[in-house]
């Protein structure tokens, strides 16, 4: 348990993707099978314990600590698991606490200082406890098989035996929220890094595997066979597209390509199989292979085909596709209520077929797959939440440019608001995992843009640590005040980053912890051209609006801040988009309610979307 705790402790602070992979792979290399398997289960979100709730943790700590001290501590720390992990009292020792503050820590463990260190309290309490070697697999076994009545005492016993990091890890495990910036895909990538496999190799066998994954590790390390998965509905790695630049377009022949609308939803893969006895299995996967069937039971139930379909998850109301803002209200919900299902009916707009019946058709060209997909949809019950993404006819790039500019009159009709560009797929393209360059292109519609004034800056992480690379920007209200409307941390070049960084350092007017406020007056300040994909109403932001995927498009050194855009401009755009409800659930998974968690969840949403 303590090695696992040390791992997630370190992961929580590691900003780099490659650093995380190395930490996880290093752990897998040095930890025996049973434990590393359960660790992999924890990292991939494959664990859940029904009976442990925050209320139980509060109850346990209330029985053990002074309520005033707990309240002061919780207020200071801001996170329940962490507060409890830190405050958890040491179990009663045979001898009472010494009245003398005797020197107690074996610091500088050289021979000289050892002589100074009295016996008994030579180490911190955690290290002195006897049961540090408690295996993660035992902890998980205990938690899994524990009834509601035994749980409090067993959990308290575990907490007594662990050190602070161990307690924190255990409480994070049982509340089901590790939140250490590790996706299932990343954990699988670390497994692949143990040997010569690719992450996609792991994905192919993954859905048929269960913890503790001994056969997977044996295979990854090159001393076992590829696991034979019995799973009839495995995830198949998705095919991704490259963004289309003008230069690319000139070199491409329109006759080689088919075009589809690029839908503003999230990528979904639906696999359904029927066994000899007529029993069916349906699985819905995100583009990273995460099983999201549980979040969309209405959709999983409605599907009736046999095979595997690639498409876009959308919300349809009265047969009309809703905007991404609406879809977002159904995403990231822990509980799927009947109300949620009724108000946000999920739907798949299909654009590719990977398996037809039981036949894998990924090695067929696009046109052939498309014909089979059309046939499959044609025989599918019409009320069943599955339809076909139409092809966009075009003969020249000019025609496609016109369609992209105005989807409404080029076949998308009332769904045009949910179109964010077009996809180009070579008619002869096979369905290949990953992002091969050439067969598929995404040609997104031009983003919205606004000229905003830089107001606050914060330092970034990883390569950018020490540079001010996270920017909060604002637009003018009718009262002539700047109000923040968003935060962006990419879009600029490395050279521009250095310029902005210098500007921030030289024009700081105030500091709030790590945040610098920079000069932003009508005649002094930096105007940023911010590109974004959409707007939503937000009660979280003082401006009342929230941008989707804002990024810095250009630095407008030439423009005085007074000439930046106004809130009225954004509100007008909001009206043309249709009034949509707040996006305030986007950050609902955030720990501690801080705004710091929002970018992460947005990035996650973006990751899931950047699919087609």
């Amino acid at each position: 348990m303590n090695r696992f705790a040390a791992l997630i402790d370190r992961l929580a602070y590691e900003p780099r993707r490659n650093g995380k992979i190395r930490l996880i792979a290093d752990y897998f290399r040095h930890v025996p099978d049973l434990d590393r398997g359960w660790a992999l289960a924890a990292l991939t979100g494959a664990l859940s314990f029904r009976n442990a709730k925050p209320g139980l943790i509060r109850q346990l700590i209330a029985e053990r600590t002074d309520p005033v001290l707990f309240a002061l501590s919780y207020d200071y720390v801001g996170d329940l698991s962490e507060t409890v992990a830190l405050m958890w009292p040491a179990p009663a020792r045979p001898e009472g606490p010494s009245p003398q503050p005797s020197p107690r820590r074996g610091e500088g463990a050289g021979p000289a200082s050892k002589a100074l260190s009295p016996p008994g309290r030579g180490l911190g309490e955690g290290e002195a406890r006897p049961d540090l070697g408690i295996p993660l697999s035992d902890v998980i076994h205990t938690l899994t098989h524990m009834g509601r009545t035994e749980l409090p005492a067993v959990l308290a016993g575990l907490l007594d035996r662990l050190d602070e990091t161990g307690r924190w890890a255990l409480l994070k495990l049982i509340t089901g929220s590790l939140r250490i910036g590790v996706s299932a895909r990343l954990a699988k990538t670390a497994v692949a890094a143990l040997g010569a496999l690719t992450p996609d190799d792991i994905e192919l066998v993954w859905p048929g595997l269960t913890p503790p994954y001994a056969e997977l590790f044996a295979w990854a390390e090159g001393h076992g066979e590829r696991p034979q998965t019995e799973n009839p509905t495995p995830f198949r790695p998705v095919m991704l597209a490259h963004p289309l630049e003008a230069a690319d377009r000139e070199s491409l022949d329109p006759r080689d390509f088919r075009a589809e609308w690029k839908w503003d939803g999230i990528r979904i893969q639906a696999a359904r199989a029927v066994d000899a006895d007529g029993r069916s299995t349906t699985r819905l996967y995100s583009r990273t292979g995460e099983d999201i069937s549980g979040a969309f039971p209405d959709l999983a139930e409605a599907l009736a085909f046999e095979g595997a379909v690639d498409g876009e998850l959308l919300i349809l109301r009265q047969e009309r596709v809703q905007s991404f803002n609406v879809l977002q209200q159904r995403l990231n919900r822990k509980a799927v209520s009947a109300k949620l299902i009724t108000e946000f009916p999920a739907h798949i707009r299909a654009y590719d077929l990977l398996v037809d019946g039981t036949e894998d058709v990924r090695a067929l060209p696009f046109d052939a797959r498309r014909a089979r997909l059309e046939a499959l949809i044609a025989t599918h019950p019409t009320d069943a939440r599955l339809d076909l993404s139409p092809l966009v006819p075009f003969a020249t790039w000019e025609e496609l440019t016109a369609a992209r500019a105005d989807p409404a009159t080029h076949g998308a009709g009332p769904d045009a608001d949910a179109v964010e560009g077009v996809m180009l797929k070579r008619a002869d393209s096979l369905y290949l995992p990953g992002r091969p360059k050439g067969p598929w292109w995404k040609w997104k519609r031009d983003p919205h843009s606004v000229d905003a004034v830089l107001m606050y800056a914060q330092r970034g992480h990883g390569k950018r640590s020490s540079y001010y690379s996270d920017y909060t920007f604002g637009v003018w209200t009718g009262d002539g005040e700047l109000v923040p409307v968003g935060k962006a941390y990419f879009g600029f070049t490395d050279a521009e980053l250095i310029e902005i960084d210098r500007f921030v350092r030289r024009n700081t007017v105030n500091r709030f912890g790590p945040v610098r406020e920079v000069v932003h007056a009508r005649d002094e300040g930096l105007v940023l051209e911010v590109a974004f994909e959409g707007l939503a109403r937000s009660t979280r932001h003082r401006s009342g609006v929230a941008m989707r995927f804002p990024r810095i498009a250009r630095l407008r050194w030439d423009k005085p801040p007074a000439e930046a855009d106004t809130l009225a401009t954004l509100e007008a755009l909001l009206r043309t988009q249709g009034e949509v409800a707040a996006d305030d659930d986007a950050g609902a998974e955030s720990d501690g309610g801080g705004t710091a968690a929002r970018p992460a969840s947005r990035r996650a949403a973006r990751r899931d979307r950047e699919a087609s």
Partner: protein, 360 residues
Amino acid sequence: MRSAMRPEDLLRPTPRGLYSPAGDFFIDPVRPVPRALITHGHSDHARAGHGAVLATRQTLDIMAIRYGADFAGDTQAIAYGESVEVNGVKASFFPAGHILGSAQIRVEKNGCRIVASGDYKPGIDPTCVPFEPIGCDVFISEATFGLPVFRHPDPAGEIGKLVASLQLFPERTHIIGAYALGKAQRVIALLRAAGHDRPILLHGAMERLTAYYESEGIALGPVKLAREATPDELPGAVVIAPPSSLAEVWSRRFADPVTAFASGWMRIRARARQHGVELPLVISDHADWDDLQHAILATGCGELWVTHGQEDALVHWAGQAGLTARPLHLVGYGEEEAESGDAPATGKASGDAPAEGKPS
């Protein structure tokens, strides 16, 4: 027969710091005063410009290094265990275990004894003389880590995390944020005890203080200035720098560094993340929650005055322990070590960010 002295006539809080009406002197004044008794050399306690300063020899040396030889009109050195009379008040200095030269100051007159402990920590620190509990009627304590969430782990274990990271990332420079006075030298000593024998690279801000520790007989092994290191020395090297420089231009010279920070604040994850720290090392020169309680009880005091930090929790505990306790609400302490050009900012990033406290 003189009646017993009231504690408030012996020592009381004022805007300039703790003042003794009976002896007409200040302890750790935050503004220039005619006569100051100084507990230790950190810049929030030891300021330049006083008329006369009474402190340990090491504290006077440190002040001279930081402020120049003429930092005060007159100086007087006092050793641990010694006493002097200041206008009829007896002042005695005892080890505080915080940094080299740090002292608790006991003042007494007419049977009333007050110990102003400054910043202190019980336990073993190879870079300074250990804290001793001193009997008194009133004990004045800091409460920097006065919450039950602060229980400092074994520092050797924390250094073990650094050693493990050096093994995992042998090509990356490990920059450790540590205050230039005390913490930097302690971290070096801990690394040496853990068997790390490579030269340790220093930020310029800690060069003279580190040399001073060496001259006081504290062996720190080979050190050199980071700016004089050749590129081939950087992979896997340990660099010690003021915390404020971690995220500054200074740190850009190191390729792909691991950012560590040695501080008691690193106990709180959000605090570590706010500083962009990848490798938090919970190493503190202050008493933790348990230390505070043990130290206070060991003095046998009947009354506790709390200077700075998390005074609410400590006062609450003291009340339950049967002590008369009150916060002094002194200002000017524990805010920051303003020792390195661009010190960390103070203030609140947002409603849910914990307030910045003493970076220690």
